[in-house]
């Protein structure tokens, strides 16, 4: 329907209808069908259609008068059309008639409602006015406020309209009285509230507090009530602070009395909020508690400030800080303190003190380092990490991310430079090269010597007289270094999990986690530095302690002839000439290290030792001569050695001994050309570690092989 209307209403469409062309027979037919007309119900549309039809009719009459004669039916159509026009006019009038009455009725109804509403409001106004007067007389302020509240809720424009009416003067008077009553009530409530707060009469305070919102004075009510609560907070805090100042230093809680005071303050405020939440939310509406808390926060900050100031004064904090500062050899002037940054500054001072504490206690732990027999490490490692953990833990409990990060940084510095230097210097003194027997004796007796000199605090500074002492010191230090590396990793993990909670509370803003992670990764990197130091120490130990011992034992291989006959071979079988003693020596030496070093370090050391054995033995073998049975003897010796070394190390040693094993194979050949059974395409799974030149060199060690045969070999 709507679209049809739009079509008909739009003038361009209507006027744009092409006039029926003369040449076309059907030109008389109107664009508007009978169905369309029948479906029309709205007056306007009908009028429009009618107009158009009339227009068309006129046009036809003017243009084609002759046609009528040719079509007698037109007469009929004309009659029908007139009838239709009559019907439309009638319908139109009827519709107009009916709808205008409805409109009038509707208007009347609306006015009636308005009249009732206004009458109600006026009655209410009157009722409120009377009610307020009565209530005020009876000092029933709640009731009075309820009336005012009702009045304030009335539609002001309606009241205004009523004042212009006949009853204007009466309403005016009422309104005036009401407004007066409102002002009076406001004044009374404010006054009574002030009195109640002054007298600390909580029921009365609450009574009038509830009335403020009824008078539309939400902000004022909350402000006044907050003032009242803040005063309470302040007086309680002052009372507490006075008590603190009177506390004897021998009191059990004396050390943390200021922290206790802050806790009391916070708890007190929390209780106030908790207690008054229902009343505020009920009478002032949800969300209003925020206003109250805002006021309380200001008071809270003010009180904290006072406590911190007192703390700084009472404990001579600045004095102590300056003292520490002087000890740290720093020159700086103290500036004036602004209250807004007091906390951050306090933390800054604290960090310096904590750093001083950490450094001094670590130094002390190093000075008091003791070693107990049966332990792998000495006391200072555990002590140092206990101290560092404690210091960082304390910083963490400040809940200040800057404080925590600063402490982690300082701990990193302490461990990486100062403490690592201590261990590094000990290792730099080296492991004194002496005979095997010295070590044996040394490890057992050095303990007492070391113990006594440690207590004099000169262990790492003065020259070490006893080599035994020096050896033990070196081994213990190696263990210490390894444990440090481990402990740093552990410390990192512990701190990470400790701080998860802190971050879930969202402390320190968005950067907190990133700051923390960055500082912590610096700390974790120190672990690798200790690992590097350990490797350095192990290499030193291997070259100064193991290699000099090993050399003569391996060199004794020369004293055993490997140009032997059946008889000697059998004799060797019964009375082993070299390898058993060598294994025994190795076993004894390593046993000492095994007892004194941690499993991880010991394992690394045996790894270094086996490599050394392989390299050195190869050199010796290449300087010896063999015959067939001597080669067989060497093969037996090598197998025993590998079998033994396999039992003492977790490293795969086959690989390290691959070249030697291949040399033994060569020395064991029946004749020179037999090598070709193992070489080149015949090597099978065997990968040769010896070059062709080396193979010839080893073949040449066999005195029974002719050098021409070896030269002739095609490898």
């Amino acid at each position: 329907m709507a679209t049809k209307m739009a079509d008909l209403d739009s003038p361009p469409k209507l006027s744009g209808v092409q006039p029926p062309s003369e040449g076309v027979g059907g030109g008389r037919c109107s664009e508007i069908s009978a169905e369309l007309i029948r479906s029309l119900t709205e007056l306007q549309e009908l009028e429009a259609v009618y107009e158009r039809l009339c227009g068309e009719e006129v046009r036809e009459e003017l243009l084609e008068p002759g046609r009528r004669k040719l079509h007698p039916n037109l007469q009929l159509i004309e009659g029908d059309a007139k009838q239709l026009a009559g019907m439309i006019t009638f319908t139109c009038n009827l519709a107009e008639n009916v709808s205008s009455k409805v409109r009038q009725l509707d208007l009347a109804k609306n006015r009636l409602y308005q009249a009732i509403q206004r009458a109600d409001d006026i009655l209410d106004l009157k009722f409120c006015m009377d009610g307020v007067q009565t209530a005020l007389r009876n000092e029933d302020y709640e009731q009075a406020a309820a009336h005012i509240h009702r009045y304030l809720c009335l539609d002001k424009s309606v009241i205004e309209l009523s004042r212009q009416g006949k009853e204007g003067s009466m309403i005016d008077a009422n309104l005036k009285l009401l407004q007066e009553a409102e002002q009076r009530l406001k004044a009374i409530v404010a006054e009574k509230f002030a009195i109640a707060t002054k007298e600390g009469d909580l029921p009365q305070v609450e009574r009038f507090f509830k009335i403020f919102p009824l008078l539309g004075l939400h902000e004022e009510g909350l402000r006044k009530f907050s003032e009242y609560l803040c005063k309470q907070v302040a007086s309680k805090a002052e009372e507490n602070l006075l008590m603190v100042l009177g506390t004897d230093m021998s009191d059990r809680r004396a050390a943390v009395i200021f922290a206790d005071t802050l806790t009391l303050l916070f708890e007190g405020i929390a209780r106030i909020v908790e207690t008054h939440q229902p009343i505020v939310e009920t009478y002032y509406g949800p969300g209003r508690l925020y206003t109250l808390i805002k006021y309380l926060q200001v008071e809270c900050d003010r009180q904290v400030e006072k406590v911190v100031d007192k703390f700084i004064k009472q404990r001579d904090y600045h004095q102590q800080f300056r003292h520490v500062q002087n000890n740290l050899m720093r020159n700086s002037t103290t500036e004036k303190i602004e209250p807004s940054c007091t906390m951050q500054e306090l933390i800054g001072l604290y960090v310096t003190m904590e750093e001083y504490f950490m450094r001094e206690t670590v130094n002390k732990a190093v000075a008091l380092d003791t070693y107990e027999k049966g332990q792998l490490t000495s006391s200072m490692v555990d002590d140092v990490f206990y101290i560092v953990k404690k210091c960082i833990g304390r910083a963490l409990s400040s809940s200040s991310i800057d404080c925590l990060c600063a402490m982690i940084n300082l701990a990193t510095t302490e461990l990486e430079s100062d403490f690592r230097d201590v261990l590094c210097n000990k290792l730099r003194m080296g492991f004194p090269a002496t005979t095997f027997q010295d070590i044996q004796r040394g490890v057992t007796s050095a303990v007492n010597i070391m113990h006594s000199s440690l207590q004099q605090g000169k262990f790492d500074t003065k020259g070490i007289e006893s080599t035994d002492e020096a050896k033990l010191s070196f081994l213990v230090t190696l263990n210490n270094v390894e444990v440090c590396s481990e402990n740093i990793s552990t410390l990192k993990k512990t701190l990470e999990s400790d701080c998860t909670k802190l971050f879930s509370q969202g402390i320190g803003g968005e950067q907190a986690q990133a700051k923390f992670d960055s500082c912590l990764s610096d700390l974790a990197a120190v672990s690798n530095k200790f690992r590097d130091l350990l490797q350095e120490g192990l290499t030193e130990l291997n070259s100064t302690a193991i290699k000099p011992q090993l050399q003569p034992w391996i060199n004794s291989f020369f004293s055993v002839s490997h140009n032997i006959e059946e008889e000697e071979f059998n004799d060797y079988e019964a009375n082993d000439p070299w390898v058993q003693q060598f294994i025994l020596n190795l076993e004894q030496q390593m046993a000492e290290f095994k007892a004194s070093l941690s499993p991880v370090i010991y394992d690394s050391l045996t790894g270094l030792m086996t490599s050394l054995v392989a390299v050195e033995l190869e050199k010796v073998v290449l300087k010896s001569t063999f015959n067939r049975l001597g080669g067989l003897q060497f093969d037996k010796e090598l197998r025993s050695l590998i079998a033994y070394l396999t039992t003492v190390t977790t490293w795969t040693i086959r690989d390290k001994f691959a070249r030697l094993s291949q040399m033994a194979t060569i020395l064991n050949l029946e004749r020179v050309t037999e090598i070709l059974d193992y070489w080149g395409p015949n090597s099978g799974p065997l990968t040769w570690r010896l070059t062709p030149a080396e193979v010839r060199q080893v073949l040449a060690l066999r005195i029974d092989f002719r050098s021409e045969d070896i030269k002739r070999l095609r490898l």
């Binding site: 700086s332 002037t333 103290t334 500036e335 303190i337 940054c341 951050q344 500054e345 933390i347 800054g348 001072l349 960090v351 310096t352 750093e355 800057d402 404080c403 990060c405 600063a406 402490m407 940084n409 300082l410 990193t412 510095t413 950067q511 990133a514 700051k515 960055s518 610096d522 990197a525 690798n528 530095k529 590097d532």
Partner: protein
């Protein structure tokens, strides 16, 4: 960009008197902003920006520290792990220039001996109020063997250049270190293969 997606990681710490514009330099570089009426920094702030230099991703961790003396104990703890320090003063404030020797003493005491220090004279947009001549600053920085640059965080003058040149120099230092130390000591950047560096016009 994922956490580990970079070729080099460097820590840069800004130091210098309060109010010389350290925070503004960092903000200008990392966020492209000049926050007017910046309040004093309390403690330390932390920003990250990853830049690409000759096809290498360089992650710069920038620590903006409080200039005020009373927060020094916290800020000093960051010097040691810094690969570079940007020592900033205000060209319109003689006092901030006069304090530089004191700052150098701090660096000497707390920073690593391998640290690269750049001297920056900020606020050149306030040229009419200049109190420290460029020549004086250049002489000073030369005597102290420092690279010197004048910037304006407000007009964004030389700010990019400051950080990018610094990153270039840190890369070449890191590479030299890799050459000298081989693999024995851990470096800030990854130990990548060494190629000749031509991008830097530093010094």
């Amino acid at each position: 960009m994922s956490m580990e997606d970079y070729d080099f990681l460097f820590k840069i710490v800004l130091i210098g008197n309060a109010g010389v514009g350290k925070t503004c330099l960092v903000r200008r570089f990392t966020q492209g902003l000049f926050p007017p009426g910046q309040g004093a920094t309390i403690g330390v702030d932390f920003m990250i920006k990853t830049v690409e230099i000759n096809g290498e991703k360089v992650k710069l961790q920038i620590w903006d520290t409080a200039g005020q003396e009373r927060f020094r104990s916290i800020t000093q703890s960051y010097y040691r792990s810094a690969n570079a320090l940007i020592l900033t003063y205000d060209i319109t404030c003689e006092e901030s220039f006069r304090c530089l020797p004191e700052w150098l003493r701090e660096i000497e005491q707390y920073a690593s001996n391998k640290v690269i220090t750049v001297l920056v004279g900020n606020k050149i947009d306030l040229a009419e109020r200049r109190e420290v001549s460029q020549q004086r600053a250049e002489e000073f920085s030369e005597a102290q063997d420092m690279y010197y640059l004048e910037t304006s965080a407000k007009e964004s003058d030389n700010v990019e250049k400051l950080f990018l040149d610094l990153a270039c120099r840190l890369i070449s230092e890191a590479r030299q270190n890799t050459l000298v130390n081989n693999v024995s000591s851990p470096l800030p950047g990854e130990g990548k293969s060494i190629s000749y560096l031509t991008c830097c016009n530093f010094n």
